[in-house]
Amino acid sequence: MFNYTLRRLLTVIPTLLVLIVFSFYLMRLAPGGPFTSEKPLPPAVMQNVLERYGMDQPLYVQLWTYIKNIVFHFDFGPSFAQKDRTVNDVIAQGFPVTLTYGFWSAVFVLVLGIPLGIVAALRHNSIWDYTMTGLAIFSQIFPNFVLAPILVLLFTLSWGLLPGGGWNGGQWEYIVMPAIALGTSYMAGVARLTRGSMLEVLNAPFILTARAKGLPERVIIWRHALKPALLPTLTYMGPVFVYMITGSVFIDVFFSTGGIGQDFIDGAYSRDYSMLLGLAILYSLLTFALNLMLDLLYAWIDPKVRSSL
Protein backbone atom coordinates (compact mmCIF):
# COMPACT_ATOMS: atom_id res chain seq x y z
CA MET A 1 0.00 0.00 0.00
CA PHE A 2 2.81 2.40 0.92
CA ASN A 3 4.71 1.55 -2.23
CA TYR A 4 1.60 2.02 -4.26
CA THR A 5 1.01 5.47 -2.77
CA LEU A 6 4.62 6.43 -3.41
CA ARG A 7 4.43 5.25 -7.00
CA ARG A 8 1.28 7.21 -7.55
CA LEU A 9 2.82 10.33 -6.01
CA LEU A 10 5.81 10.05 -8.32
CA THR A 11 3.61 9.99 -11.40
CA VAL A 12 2.31 13.46 -10.54
CA ILE A 13 5.48 15.18 -11.64
CA PRO A 14 5.58 14.06 -15.28
CA THR A 15 1.80 14.42 -15.54
CA LEU A 16 1.96 17.99 -14.33
CA LEU A 17 4.82 18.81 -16.68
CA VAL A 18 2.88 17.57 -19.67
CA LEU A 19 -0.17 19.49 -18.51
CA ILE A 20 1.82 22.72 -18.12
CA VAL A 21 3.54 22.51 -21.49
CA PHE A 22 0.38 21.54 -23.29
CA SER A 23 -1.82 24.21 -21.71
CA PHE A 24 0.89 26.81 -22.07
CA TYR A 25 0.95 26.50 -25.84
CA LEU A 26 -2.73 25.77 -26.25
CA MET A 27 -3.83 28.97 -24.51
CA ARG A 28 -1.68 31.06 -26.77
CA LEU A 29 -3.35 29.52 -29.79
CA ALA A 30 -6.64 31.14 -28.81
CA PRO A 31 -7.16 34.47 -30.56
CA GLY A 32 -6.41 37.60 -28.54
CA GLY A 33 -4.12 38.03 -25.57
CA PRO A 34 -4.14 39.63 -22.15
CA PHE A 35 -3.28 43.05 -23.53
CA THR A 36 -5.43 43.22 -26.62
CA SER A 37 -8.22 45.70 -26.21
CA GLU A 38 -10.58 47.57 -28.46
CA LYS A 39 -8.33 50.63 -28.48
CA PRO A 40 -4.90 49.29 -29.36
CA LEU A 41 -2.12 50.50 -27.06
CA PRO A 42 0.57 52.71 -28.59
CA PRO A 43 3.44 50.44 -29.71
CA ALA A 44 5.87 51.90 -27.17
CA VAL A 45 3.54 51.29 -24.27
CA MET A 46 2.74 47.81 -25.55
CA GLN A 47 6.45 47.02 -25.75
CA ASN A 48 6.83 48.21 -22.18
CA VAL A 49 4.03 46.05 -20.90
CA LEU A 50 5.23 42.96 -22.75
CA GLU A 51 8.72 43.42 -21.33
CA ARG A 52 7.37 43.82 -17.87
CA TYR A 53 5.65 40.41 -18.05
CA GLY A 54 8.49 38.75 -19.92
CA MET A 55 6.34 38.28 -22.97
CA ASP A 56 8.89 39.76 -25.31
CA GLN A 57 10.94 36.59 -24.88
CA PRO A 58 10.55 33.56 -27.15
CA LEU A 59 7.82 31.18 -25.92
CA TYR A 60 10.14 28.39 -24.78
CA VAL A 61 12.08 30.85 -22.65
CA GLN A 62 8.86 32.06 -21.08
CA LEU A 63 7.84 28.47 -20.37
CA TRP A 64 11.21 27.67 -18.85
CA THR A 65 11.07 30.74 -16.59
CA TYR A 66 7.56 29.83 -15.55
CA ILE A 67 8.51 26.29 -14.55
CA LYS A 68 11.70 27.45 -12.82
CA ASN A 69 9.76 29.93 -10.71
CA ILE A 70 7.29 27.28 -9.64
CA VAL A 71 9.93 24.74 -8.75
CA PHE A 72 12.33 27.04 -6.93
CA HIS A 73 10.07 29.73 -5.50
CA PHE A 74 6.60 28.16 -5.65
CA ASP A 75 5.72 31.32 -7.56
CA PHE A 76 3.03 31.05 -10.22
CA GLY A 77 3.80 34.45 -11.60
CA PRO A 78 1.96 37.76 -11.74
CA SER A 79 -1.61 37.93 -12.94
CA PHE A 80 -1.69 39.38 -16.42
CA ALA A 81 -5.06 40.97 -15.92
CA GLN A 82 -5.36 41.94 -12.27
CA LYS A 83 -2.86 44.68 -11.72
CA ASP A 84 -0.30 44.22 -8.95
CA ARG A 85 -1.62 40.83 -7.89
CA THR A 86 0.14 37.52 -8.26
CA VAL A 87 -1.57 34.25 -9.08
CA ASN A 88 -0.53 33.05 -5.62
CA ASP A 89 -2.39 36.00 -4.07
CA VAL A 90 -5.55 35.33 -6.00
CA ILE A 91 -5.60 31.63 -5.21
CA ALA A 92 -4.73 32.24 -1.56
CA GLN A 93 -7.74 34.48 -1.35
CA GLY A 94 -10.28 32.56 -3.42
CA PHE A 95 -9.43 28.95 -2.76
CA PRO A 96 -10.16 28.85 1.00
CA VAL A 97 -13.62 30.21 0.22
CA THR A 98 -14.32 27.57 -2.41
CA LEU A 99 -12.82 24.85 -0.28
CA THR A 100 -15.00 25.83 2.66
CA TYR A 101 -18.37 25.84 0.98
CA GLY A 102 -17.36 22.92 -1.25
CA PHE A 103 -16.42 20.89 1.80
CA TRP A 104 -19.68 21.62 3.58
CA SER A 105 -21.56 20.91 0.41
CA ALA A 106 -19.89 17.50 0.19
CA VAL A 107 -20.71 16.85 3.84
CA PHE A 108 -24.32 17.76 3.08
CA VAL A 109 -24.36 15.41 0.09
CA LEU A 110 -22.98 12.42 1.99
CA VAL A 111 -24.62 12.92 5.37
CA LEU A 112 -28.04 13.28 3.81
CA GLY A 113 -27.73 11.25 0.60
CA ILE A 114 -26.37 8.00 2.03
CA PRO A 115 -28.84 7.56 4.91
CA LEU A 116 -31.75 8.52 2.66
CA GLY A 117 -30.67 5.92 0.12
CA ILE A 118 -30.27 3.26 2.80
CA VAL A 119 -33.64 3.98 4.39
CA ALA A 120 -35.34 3.86 1.00
CA ALA A 121 -33.70 0.51 0.28
CA LEU A 122 -34.63 -0.98 3.64
CA ARG A 123 -38.22 0.20 3.25
CA HIS A 124 -38.25 -1.00 -0.32
CA ASN A 125 -41.59 -0.42 -2.10
CA SER A 126 -43.08 1.40 0.85
CA ILE A 127 -44.40 4.94 0.94
CA TRP A 128 -40.97 6.01 2.33
CA ASP A 129 -39.23 4.52 -0.64
CA TYR A 130 -41.57 6.15 -3.16
CA THR A 131 -41.43 9.55 -1.47
CA MET A 132 -37.66 9.46 -1.27
CA THR A 133 -37.18 8.28 -4.83
CA GLY A 134 -39.66 10.84 -6.10
CA LEU A 135 -37.94 13.65 -4.22
CA ALA A 136 -34.56 12.48 -5.44
CA ILE A 137 -35.61 12.46 -9.08
CA PHE A 138 -37.23 15.85 -8.59
CA SER A 139 -34.15 17.46 -7.06
CA GLN A 140 -31.79 15.76 -9.47
CA ILE A 141 -33.40 17.61 -12.36
CA PHE A 142 -33.11 20.85 -10.39
CA PRO A 143 -29.85 22.43 -11.51
CA ASN A 144 -28.17 24.84 -9.10
CA PHE A 145 -29.07 27.88 -11.20
CA VAL A 146 -32.73 27.18 -10.58
CA LEU A 147 -32.34 26.16 -6.99
CA ALA A 148 -30.16 29.10 -5.92
CA PRO A 149 -32.71 31.82 -6.78
CA ILE A 150 -35.46 29.80 -5.09
CA LEU A 151 -33.39 29.49 -1.93
CA VAL A 152 -32.68 33.20 -1.92
CA LEU A 153 -36.33 33.95 -2.56
CA LEU A 154 -37.35 31.89 0.45
CA PHE A 155 -34.60 32.26 2.99
CA THR A 156 -33.58 35.82 2.26
CA LEU A 157 -36.44 37.69 0.70
CA SER A 158 -39.43 35.98 2.34
CA TRP A 159 -38.21 34.87 5.72
CA GLY A 160 -35.11 37.03 6.15
CA LEU A 161 -33.25 34.14 7.75
CA LEU A 162 -30.04 34.09 5.72
CA PRO A 163 -27.98 36.68 3.88
CA GLY A 164 -28.52 36.49 0.12
CA GLY A 165 -24.84 36.62 -0.74
CA GLY A 166 -21.33 37.63 0.26
CA TRP A 167 -18.89 35.72 2.38
CA ASN A 168 -17.98 37.72 5.46
CA GLY A 169 -15.00 35.60 6.43
CA GLY A 170 -16.98 32.40 6.05
CA GLN A 171 -19.54 32.68 8.82
CA TRP A 172 -21.99 29.80 8.69
CA GLU A 173 -24.95 31.91 7.55
CA TYR A 174 -23.04 32.68 4.39
CA ILE A 175 -22.12 29.06 3.73
CA VAL A 176 -25.54 27.40 4.04
CA MET A 177 -27.15 28.41 0.77
CA PRO A 178 -24.11 28.05 -1.50
CA ALA A 179 -23.48 24.60 -0.04
CA ILE A 180 -27.07 23.47 -0.48
CA ALA A 181 -27.47 24.97 -3.94
CA LEU A 182 -24.24 23.34 -5.07
CA GLY A 183 -24.95 19.97 -3.48
CA THR A 184 -28.65 19.20 -3.83
CA SER A 185 -28.63 17.49 -7.19
CA TYR A 186 -25.60 15.40 -6.17
CA MET A 187 -27.24 14.58 -2.87
CA ALA A 188 -30.18 13.22 -4.83
CA GLY A 189 -27.79 11.29 -7.07
CA VAL A 190 -26.04 9.76 -4.06
CA ALA A 191 -29.39 8.83 -2.49
CA ARG A 192 -30.57 7.03 -5.61
CA LEU A 193 -27.24 5.32 -6.19
CA THR A 194 -27.00 4.17 -2.57
CA ARG A 195 -30.57 2.90 -2.65
CA GLY A 196 -29.93 0.92 -5.82
CA SER A 197 -26.69 -0.63 -4.71
CA MET A 198 -28.04 -1.42 -1.24
CA LEU A 199 -30.97 -3.25 -2.82
CA GLU A 200 -28.60 -5.17 -5.02
CA VAL A 201 -26.30 -6.13 -2.16
CA LEU A 202 -29.24 -7.22 -0.02
CA ASN A 203 -30.10 -9.71 -2.76
CA ALA A 204 -26.60 -11.15 -2.84
CA PRO A 205 -26.18 -14.78 -1.75
CA PHE A 206 -23.77 -13.84 1.02
CA ILE A 207 -26.51 -11.80 2.68
CA LEU A 208 -28.68 -14.93 2.69
CA THR A 209 -25.76 -16.69 4.35
CA ALA A 210 -25.66 -13.95 6.98
CA ARG A 211 -29.39 -14.39 7.57
CA ALA A 212 -28.93 -18.16 7.88
CA LYS A 213 -26.44 -17.45 10.67
CA GLY A 214 -29.24 -15.91 12.68
CA LEU A 215 -27.72 -12.42 12.69
CA PRO A 216 -30.23 -9.68 13.44
CA GLU A 217 -31.15 -7.39 10.54
CA ARG A 218 -29.26 -4.45 12.04
CA VAL A 219 -26.00 -6.41 12.12
CA ILE A 220 -26.57 -7.69 8.61
CA ILE A 221 -26.90 -4.14 7.29
CA TRP A 222 -24.00 -2.63 9.19
CA ARG A 223 -21.52 -5.46 9.13
CA HIS A 224 -22.29 -7.26 5.89
CA ALA A 225 -24.09 -4.93 3.50
CA LEU A 226 -22.91 -1.37 4.11
CA LYS A 227 -19.35 -1.54 2.80
CA PRO A 228 -20.17 -3.12 -0.56
CA ALA A 229 -23.25 -0.94 -0.92
CA LEU A 230 -21.10 2.19 -0.64
CA LEU A 231 -18.63 1.27 -3.37
CA PRO A 232 -20.61 2.73 -6.29
CA THR A 233 -21.27 5.89 -4.29
CA LEU A 234 -17.56 6.25 -3.71
CA THR A 235 -16.83 6.00 -7.41
CA TYR A 236 -19.52 8.56 -8.15
CA MET A 237 -18.26 10.97 -5.50
CA GLY A 238 -14.71 11.15 -6.91
CA PRO A 239 -15.27 13.64 -9.73
CA VAL A 240 -18.14 15.31 -7.87
CA PHE A 241 -15.86 16.07 -4.96
CA VAL A 242 -13.27 17.67 -7.23
CA TYR A 243 -15.93 19.71 -8.91
CA MET A 244 -17.27 20.89 -5.58
CA ILE A 245 -14.07 22.04 -3.99
CA THR A 246 -12.73 23.66 -7.12
CA GLY A 247 -15.72 25.86 -7.18
CA SER A 248 -18.74 26.47 -9.21
CA VAL A 249 -18.66 29.51 -11.41
CA PHE A 250 -22.36 29.96 -11.00
CA ILE A 251 -22.32 29.82 -7.19
CA ASP A 252 -19.47 32.32 -7.00
CA VAL A 253 -21.21 34.72 -9.32
CA PHE A 254 -24.71 34.35 -7.89
CA PHE A 255 -23.80 34.50 -4.22
CA SER A 256 -20.76 36.78 -4.68
CA THR A 257 -18.80 34.42 -2.49
CA GLY A 258 -15.49 35.37 -4.09
CA GLY A 259 -14.23 31.82 -4.69
CA ILE A 260 -11.93 30.74 -7.48
CA GLY A 261 -14.83 29.90 -9.79
CA GLN A 262 -15.10 33.62 -10.32
CA ASP A 263 -11.36 33.89 -11.00
CA PHE A 264 -11.60 31.15 -13.62
CA ILE A 265 -14.24 33.08 -15.54
CA ASP A 266 -12.44 36.39 -15.26
CA GLY A 267 -9.22 34.72 -16.31
CA ALA A 268 -10.80 33.17 -19.37
CA TYR A 269 -12.37 36.44 -20.55
CA SER A 270 -9.22 38.48 -20.06
CA ARG A 271 -6.85 35.82 -21.45
CA ASP A 272 -5.03 35.90 -18.15
CA TYR A 273 -2.57 33.17 -19.14
CA SER A 274 -0.80 32.81 -15.84
CA MET A 275 -4.06 32.85 -13.88
CA LEU A 276 -5.60 30.11 -15.99
CA LEU A 277 -2.50 27.97 -15.92
CA GLY A 278 -2.19 28.35 -12.16
CA LEU A 279 -5.82 27.33 -11.68
CA ALA A 280 -5.40 24.40 -14.07
CA ILE A 281 -2.46 23.16 -12.02
CA LEU A 282 -4.43 23.55 -8.80
CA TYR A 283 -7.34 21.71 -10.37
CA SER A 284 -5.26 18.79 -11.51
CA LEU A 285 -3.42 18.54 -8.18
CA LEU A 286 -6.75 18.35 -6.39
CA THR A 287 -8.09 15.81 -8.83
CA PHE A 288 -5.01 13.76 -8.31
CA ALA A 289 -5.07 13.97 -4.51
CA LEU A 290 -8.76 13.11 -4.29
CA ASN A 291 -8.48 10.21 -6.68
CA LEU A 292 -5.60 8.81 -4.70
CA MET A 293 -7.61 9.17 -1.51
CA LEU A 294 -10.60 7.43 -3.07
CA ASP A 295 -8.45 4.62 -4.44
CA LEU A 296 -6.99 4.04 -1.01
CA LEU A 297 -10.47 4.10 0.47
CA TYR A 298 -11.58 1.64 -2.18
CA ALA A 299 -8.69 -0.63 -1.33
CA TRP A 300 -9.54 -0.37 2.33
CA ILE A 301 -13.07 -1.56 1.63
CA ASP A 302 -12.41 -4.14 -1.07
CA PRO A 303 -9.78 -6.76 -0.21
CA LYS A 304 -9.58 -7.83 -3.84
CA VAL A 305 -8.49 -4.34 -4.85
CA ARG A 306 -6.13 -4.20 -1.88
CA SER A 307 -4.28 -7.35 -2.83
CA SER A 308 -3.86 -6.08 -6.38
CA LEU A 309 -2.13 -2.86 -5.28
Partner: protein, 317 residues
Protein backbone atom coordinates in the same frame (compact mmCIF):
# COMPACT_ATOMS: atom_id res chain seq x y z
CA UNK B 1 -39.89 -38.26 18.39
CA UNK B 2 -38.27 -37.02 15.25
CA UNK B 3 -35.97 -34.03 15.27
CA UNK B 4 -37.54 -32.38 12.26
CA UNK B 5 -41.02 -33.09 11.06
CA UNK B 6 -42.41 -31.51 7.92
CA UNK B 7 -46.13 -31.93 7.39
CA UNK B 8 -48.05 -31.04 4.25
CA UNK B 9 -45.65 -28.28 3.39
CA UNK B 10 -46.93 -26.10 0.61
CA UNK B 11 -44.99 -23.21 -0.88
CA UNK B 12 -46.46 -20.91 -3.48
CA UNK B 13 -45.00 -17.78 -5.02
CA UNK B 14 -47.00 -14.79 -6.12
CA UNK B 15 -45.66 -13.74 -9.50
CA UNK B 16 -46.74 -11.62 -12.44
CA UNK B 17 -47.92 -14.82 -14.17
CA UNK B 18 -50.01 -15.94 -11.22
CA UNK B 19 -49.29 -18.32 -8.37
CA UNK B 20 -46.35 -20.66 -8.84
CA UNK B 21 -46.97 -23.90 -6.96
CA UNK B 22 -43.36 -24.66 -6.11
CA UNK B 23 -43.88 -27.20 -3.32
CA UNK B 24 -47.06 -29.22 -2.86
CA UNK B 25 -48.04 -31.27 0.12
CA UNK B 26 -44.58 -32.47 1.08
CA UNK B 27 -44.19 -34.43 4.32
CA UNK B 28 -41.15 -36.11 5.83
CA UNK B 29 -39.38 -36.69 9.12
CA UNK B 30 -35.75 -36.64 10.07
CA UNK B 31 -34.65 -38.34 13.26
CA UNK B 32 -31.68 -37.26 15.36
CA UNK B 33 -28.56 -38.30 13.44
CA UNK B 34 -30.47 -39.43 10.36
CA UNK B 35 -29.29 -38.69 6.85
CA UNK B 36 -32.05 -38.00 4.37
CA UNK B 37 -31.52 -37.22 0.71
CA UNK B 38 -33.84 -34.95 -1.23
CA UNK B 39 -33.43 -35.71 -4.92
CA UNK B 40 -34.98 -34.09 -7.93
CA UNK B 41 -34.16 -32.22 -11.09
CA UNK B 42 -33.69 -28.49 -11.30
CA UNK B 43 -36.80 -26.55 -10.30
CA UNK B 44 -38.41 -29.40 -8.39
CA UNK B 45 -38.55 -27.29 -5.22
CA UNK B 46 -35.62 -28.71 -3.25
CA UNK B 47 -34.03 -25.43 -2.25
CA UNK B 48 -37.34 -23.86 -1.33
CA UNK B 49 -37.99 -26.67 1.15
CA UNK B 50 -34.65 -25.96 2.84
CA UNK B 51 -35.30 -22.23 2.85
CA UNK B 52 -38.77 -22.75 4.30
CA UNK B 53 -37.28 -24.75 7.18
CA UNK B 54 -34.85 -21.89 7.85
CA UNK B 55 -37.55 -19.25 7.50
CA UNK B 56 -35.66 -17.66 4.62
CA UNK B 57 -38.16 -17.82 1.78
CA UNK B 58 -38.45 -14.85 -0.56
CA UNK B 59 -40.96 -12.15 0.32
CA UNK B 60 -43.43 -13.23 -2.36
CA UNK B 61 -43.77 -16.72 -0.88
CA UNK B 62 -46.88 -18.12 0.78
CA UNK B 63 -46.28 -21.08 3.06
CA UNK B 64 -48.76 -23.52 4.52
CA UNK B 65 -48.35 -26.70 6.51
CA UNK B 66 -46.20 -27.44 9.55
CA UNK B 67 -42.48 -27.51 10.08
CA UNK B 68 -41.72 -28.78 13.56
CA UNK B 69 -38.22 -28.79 14.94
CA UNK B 70 -37.74 -30.30 18.35
CA UNK B 71 -41.45 -29.83 18.98
CA UNK B 72 -41.60 -26.16 17.97
CA UNK B 73 -43.44 -24.96 14.89
CA UNK B 74 -40.85 -23.03 12.92
CA UNK B 75 -43.35 -21.43 10.55
CA UNK B 76 -45.00 -19.47 13.34
CA UNK B 77 -41.89 -18.72 15.40
CA UNK B 78 -41.11 -15.04 15.98
CA UNK B 79 -38.02 -13.73 14.20
CA UNK B 80 -35.87 -13.47 17.31
CA UNK B 81 -36.46 -17.09 18.31
CA UNK B 82 -35.89 -18.24 14.76
CA UNK B 83 -32.60 -16.33 14.73
CA UNK B 84 -31.57 -18.12 17.90
CA UNK B 85 -32.06 -21.49 16.16
CA UNK B 86 -30.35 -20.58 12.91
CA UNK B 87 -26.75 -21.84 12.73
CA UNK B 88 -26.94 -22.82 16.40
CA UNK B 89 -29.30 -25.76 15.88
CA UNK B 90 -30.05 -25.82 12.16
CA UNK B 91 -27.33 -24.84 9.72
CA UNK B 92 -27.59 -24.32 6.00
CA UNK B 93 -24.85 -25.02 3.47
CA UNK B 94 -25.44 -23.29 0.16
CA UNK B 95 -24.80 -24.55 -3.31
CA UNK B 96 -22.30 -22.00 -4.54
CA UNK B 97 -19.29 -21.41 -2.28
CA UNK B 98 -18.13 -18.67 -4.67
CA UNK B 99 -20.95 -16.36 -3.76
CA UNK B 100 -22.11 -17.51 -0.35
CA UNK B 101 -19.16 -16.04 1.54
CA UNK B 102 -18.90 -12.32 2.13
CA UNK B 103 -16.04 -11.08 -0.08
CA UNK B 104 -15.38 -8.09 2.18
CA UNK B 105 -14.82 -9.91 5.47
CA UNK B 106 -12.00 -12.12 6.67
CA UNK B 107 -12.70 -15.82 7.10
CA UNK B 108 -11.98 -15.47 10.78
CA UNK B 109 -14.68 -12.88 11.26
CA UNK B 110 -17.22 -14.77 9.20
CA UNK B 111 -16.66 -17.90 11.23
CA UNK B 112 -16.18 -16.10 14.51
CA UNK B 113 -19.32 -13.99 14.40
CA UNK B 114 -21.43 -17.14 14.56
CA UNK B 115 -19.99 -18.25 17.92
CA UNK B 116 -19.99 -14.69 19.23
CA UNK B 117 -23.65 -14.41 18.38
CA UNK B 118 -24.92 -17.74 19.63
CA UNK B 119 -22.59 -18.50 22.49
CA UNK B 120 -21.57 -15.03 23.59
CA UNK B 121 -17.95 -15.91 22.91
CA UNK B 122 -15.25 -13.25 23.13
CA UNK B 123 -13.17 -12.28 20.12
CA UNK B 124 -10.27 -14.40 21.31
CA UNK B 125 -12.49 -17.39 22.04
CA UNK B 126 -14.19 -16.97 18.65
CA UNK B 127 -10.80 -16.95 16.93
CA UNK B 128 -9.83 -20.14 18.69
CA UNK B 129 -13.04 -21.83 17.63
CA UNK B 130 -12.64 -20.58 14.06
CA UNK B 131 -9.18 -22.11 13.94
CA UNK B 132 -10.50 -25.39 15.34
CA UNK B 133 -13.18 -25.79 12.69
CA UNK B 134 -10.81 -24.70 9.93
CA UNK B 135 -8.53 -27.52 11.03
CA UNK B 136 -11.47 -29.89 11.32
CA UNK B 137 -12.37 -29.33 7.67
CA UNK B 138 -8.66 -29.58 6.86
CA UNK B 139 -7.79 -26.19 5.47
CA UNK B 140 -4.02 -26.39 5.08
CA UNK B 141 -2.03 -23.88 7.13
CA UNK B 142 -5.26 -22.80 8.83
CA UNK B 143 -3.57 -20.67 11.48
CA UNK B 144 -2.07 -18.34 8.90
CA UNK B 145 -5.15 -18.23 6.74
CA UNK B 146 -7.57 -16.97 9.34
CA UNK B 147 -7.07 -13.40 8.21
CA UNK B 148 -7.48 -14.25 4.53
CA UNK B 149 -10.47 -13.26 2.40
CA UNK B 150 -12.68 -15.64 0.38
CA UNK B 151 -11.13 -14.74 -2.97
CA UNK B 152 -7.81 -16.07 -1.75
CA UNK B 153 -9.19 -19.63 -1.64
CA UNK B 154 -10.09 -22.14 -4.34
CA UNK B 155 -13.67 -23.31 -4.80
CA UNK B 156 -13.13 -26.54 -2.92
CA UNK B 157 -11.44 -24.73 -0.03
CA UNK B 158 -14.27 -22.22 0.10
CA UNK B 159 -16.81 -24.99 0.35
CA UNK B 160 -14.78 -26.41 3.24
CA UNK B 161 -15.00 -23.01 4.88
CA UNK B 162 -18.75 -22.91 4.31
CA UNK B 163 -19.00 -26.35 5.91
CA UNK B 164 -16.83 -25.15 8.79
CA UNK B 165 -19.24 -22.25 9.23
CA UNK B 166 -22.16 -24.66 9.41
CA UNK B 167 -20.37 -26.81 12.00
CA UNK B 168 -18.98 -24.22 14.30
CA UNK B 169 -21.87 -24.29 16.78
CA UNK B 170 -22.37 -28.06 16.43
CA UNK B 171 -25.94 -27.85 15.13
CA UNK B 172 -28.30 -30.80 15.41
CA UNK B 173 -29.39 -30.55 11.80
CA UNK B 174 -27.48 -29.54 8.69
CA UNK B 175 -29.33 -28.69 5.50
CA UNK B 176 -26.82 -29.17 2.70
CA UNK B 177 -28.21 -27.68 -0.52
CA UNK B 178 -26.21 -29.21 -3.38
CA UNK B 179 -22.93 -28.78 -1.50
CA UNK B 180 -20.86 -30.20 -4.35
CA UNK B 181 -22.67 -29.13 -7.51
CA UNK B 182 -20.42 -26.14 -8.16
CA UNK B 183 -17.22 -28.13 -7.72
CA UNK B 184 -15.29 -30.36 -10.09
CA UNK B 185 -15.56 -34.10 -9.77
CA UNK B 186 -12.47 -34.94 -7.71
CA UNK B 187 -13.20 -32.13 -5.29
CA UNK B 188 -16.83 -33.31 -5.06
CA UNK B 189 -15.69 -36.67 -3.76
CA UNK B 190 -13.41 -35.04 -1.18
CA UNK B 191 -16.16 -32.77 0.09
CA UNK B 192 -18.64 -35.66 0.38
CA UNK B 193 -16.06 -37.70 2.28
CA UNK B 194 -15.52 -34.76 4.61
CA UNK B 195 -19.25 -34.32 5.21
CA UNK B 196 -19.57 -38.02 5.89
CA UNK B 197 -16.74 -37.99 8.40
CA UNK B 198 -18.06 -34.94 10.21
CA UNK B 199 -21.55 -36.35 10.29
CA UNK B 200 -20.22 -39.52 11.93
CA UNK B 201 -18.15 -37.57 14.47
CA UNK B 202 -20.89 -35.21 15.54
CA UNK B 203 -23.92 -37.39 14.96
CA UNK B 204 -25.64 -34.50 13.23
CA UNK B 205 -28.78 -35.11 11.23
CA UNK B 206 -28.39 -34.14 7.57
CA UNK B 207 -30.83 -33.23 4.86
CA UNK B 208 -28.79 -33.59 1.69
CA UNK B 209 -30.24 -31.90 -1.34
CA UNK B 210 -28.97 -32.98 -4.72
CA UNK B 211 -30.01 -33.69 -8.27
CA UNK B 212 -27.34 -36.35 -8.52
CA UNK B 213 -28.35 -39.81 -7.34
CA UNK B 214 -24.72 -40.85 -7.53
CA UNK B 215 -23.91 -38.52 -4.62
CA UNK B 216 -26.67 -40.03 -2.52
CA UNK B 217 -25.72 -43.67 -2.89
CA UNK B 218 -22.92 -43.86 -0.38
CA UNK B 219 -24.14 -41.24 2.03
CA UNK B 220 -27.80 -41.22 2.96
CA UNK B 221 -29.93 -43.62 4.95
CA UNK B 222 -33.09 -42.61 3.20
CA UNK B 223 -33.98 -40.96 -0.06
CA UNK B 224 -36.92 -38.88 -1.11
CA UNK B 225 -37.55 -38.20 -4.77
CA UNK B 226 -39.22 -34.95 -5.70
CA UNK B 227 -40.87 -33.99 -8.96
CA UNK B 228 -42.73 -30.76 -9.67
CA UNK B 229 -42.69 -29.89 -5.99
CA UNK B 230 -44.32 -33.19 -5.05
CA UNK B 231 -42.90 -36.31 -3.43
CA UNK B 232 -42.81 -39.16 -5.96
CA UNK B 233 -41.12 -41.79 -3.89
CA UNK B 234 -39.55 -42.13 -0.46
CA UNK B 235 -37.67 -45.19 0.73
CA UNK B 236 -34.45 -46.39 2.35
CA UNK B 237 -31.63 -45.62 -0.05
CA UNK B 238 -30.76 -49.26 -0.90
CA UNK B 239 -34.39 -49.91 -1.86
CA UNK B 240 -34.40 -46.87 -4.14
CA UNK B 241 -31.41 -48.22 -6.00
CA UNK B 242 -32.31 -51.91 -6.01
CA UNK B 243 -36.05 -51.79 -6.45
CA UNK B 244 -37.20 -48.34 -7.50
CA UNK B 245 -40.98 -48.21 -7.31
CA UNK B 246 -41.77 -45.13 -9.33
CA UNK B 247 -41.33 -44.51 -13.06
CA UNK B 248 -39.61 -41.18 -12.36
CA UNK B 249 -37.08 -42.77 -10.00
CA UNK B 250 -36.42 -45.45 -12.58
CA UNK B 251 -35.83 -42.77 -15.17
CA UNK B 252 -33.44 -40.92 -12.85
CA UNK B 253 -31.49 -44.08 -12.18
CA UNK B 254 -31.10 -44.63 -15.88
CA UNK B 255 -29.76 -41.07 -16.07
CA UNK B 256 -26.94 -41.82 -13.62
CA UNK B 257 -23.82 -42.53 -15.69
CA UNK B 258 -22.93 -46.20 -15.25
CA UNK B 259 -19.89 -48.00 -16.37
CA UNK B 260 -20.77 -51.39 -17.79
CA UNK B 261 -18.06 -53.26 -19.66
CA UNK B 262 -16.17 -49.99 -20.10
CA UNK B 263 -19.19 -48.27 -21.67
CA UNK B 264 -20.68 -45.17 -20.12
CA UNK B 265 -24.43 -45.00 -20.63
CA UNK B 266 -26.33 -41.92 -19.72
CA UNK B 267 -29.96 -41.60 -20.56
CA UNK B 268 -31.68 -38.44 -19.46
CA UNK B 269 -35.45 -38.44 -19.18
CA UNK B 270 -36.93 -36.86 -22.33
CA UNK B 271 -39.28 -33.90 -21.91
CA UNK B 272 -39.19 -30.84 -19.70
CA UNK B 273 -40.29 -30.04 -16.12
CA UNK B 274 -43.98 -29.34 -15.54
CA UNK B 275 -45.63 -25.96 -15.65
CA UNK B 276 -46.39 -25.13 -12.04
CA UNK B 277 -48.64 -22.12 -12.42
CA UNK B 278 -51.78 -24.17 -11.83
CA UNK B 279 -52.56 -26.43 -8.92
CA UNK B 280 -51.84 -29.98 -10.12
CA UNK B 281 -54.90 -32.12 -10.95
CA UNK B 282 -53.09 -35.02 -12.59
CA UNK B 283 -49.84 -36.87 -12.05
CA UNK B 284 -47.26 -34.13 -12.76
CA UNK B 285 -44.96 -36.68 -14.38
CA UNK B 286 -47.60 -38.03 -16.77
CA UNK B 287 -46.45 -36.09 -19.89
CA UNK B 288 -43.00 -37.66 -19.60
CA UNK B 289 -43.87 -41.03 -18.13
CA UNK B 290 -43.27 -44.15 -20.21
CA UNK B 291 -45.85 -46.02 -18.14
CA UNK B 292 -48.61 -43.45 -18.31
CA UNK B 293 -52.16 -44.63 -18.91
CA UNK B 294 -55.15 -42.31 -19.63
CA UNK B 295 -56.15 -42.29 -15.95
CA UNK B 296 -52.80 -40.71 -15.05
CA UNK B 297 -53.89 -37.52 -16.80
CA UNK B 298 -57.13 -37.32 -14.88
CA UNK B 299 -56.30 -37.85 -11.25
CA UNK B 300 -53.65 -36.93 -8.77
CA UNK B 301 -52.06 -40.11 -7.40
CA UNK B 302 -52.08 -40.39 -3.61
CA UNK B 303 -48.84 -40.94 -1.83
CA UNK B 304 -49.19 -44.46 -0.47
CA UNK B 305 -46.68 -47.06 0.65
CA UNK B 306 -43.76 -44.83 -0.21
CA UNK B 307 -44.81 -43.90 -3.72
CA UNK B 308 -47.18 -41.65 -5.65
CA UNK B 309 -48.21 -43.63 -8.69
CA UNK B 310 -51.52 -45.14 -9.64
CA UNK B 311 -50.01 -48.19 -11.31
CA UNK B 312 -48.80 -51.18 -9.31
CA UNK B 313 -45.03 -51.72 -9.26
CA UNK B 314 -45.32 -55.04 -11.07
CA UNK B 315 -46.84 -53.37 -14.12
CA UNK B 316 -44.04 -50.84 -14.60
CA UNK B 317 -41.54 -51.29 -17.40
Amino acid sequence: MSLLSVENLQIRFRTGDGLVHAVNDVSFDIAEGQKLALVGESGSGKSQIALAIMGLLAKNAEVAGKVRFDGRDLLSLPASQLNALRAAQIALIFQDPMSSLNPYMTIERQLGEVVELHEGASRAEARKRALEVMEAVRIPDARNRLRAYPHEFSGGMRQRIVIAMALICRPRLILADEPTTALDVTVQAQIMALLDEIQRDLGTAVLLITHDLGVVAGFCDDTMVLYGGRVMEAAPTPAIFDAPGHPYTRGLLRAVPRITDGDVTLSAIPGSPPNQTAAPRACPFAPRCVDAIPACHEMLPDFREGRACIRPVEELT
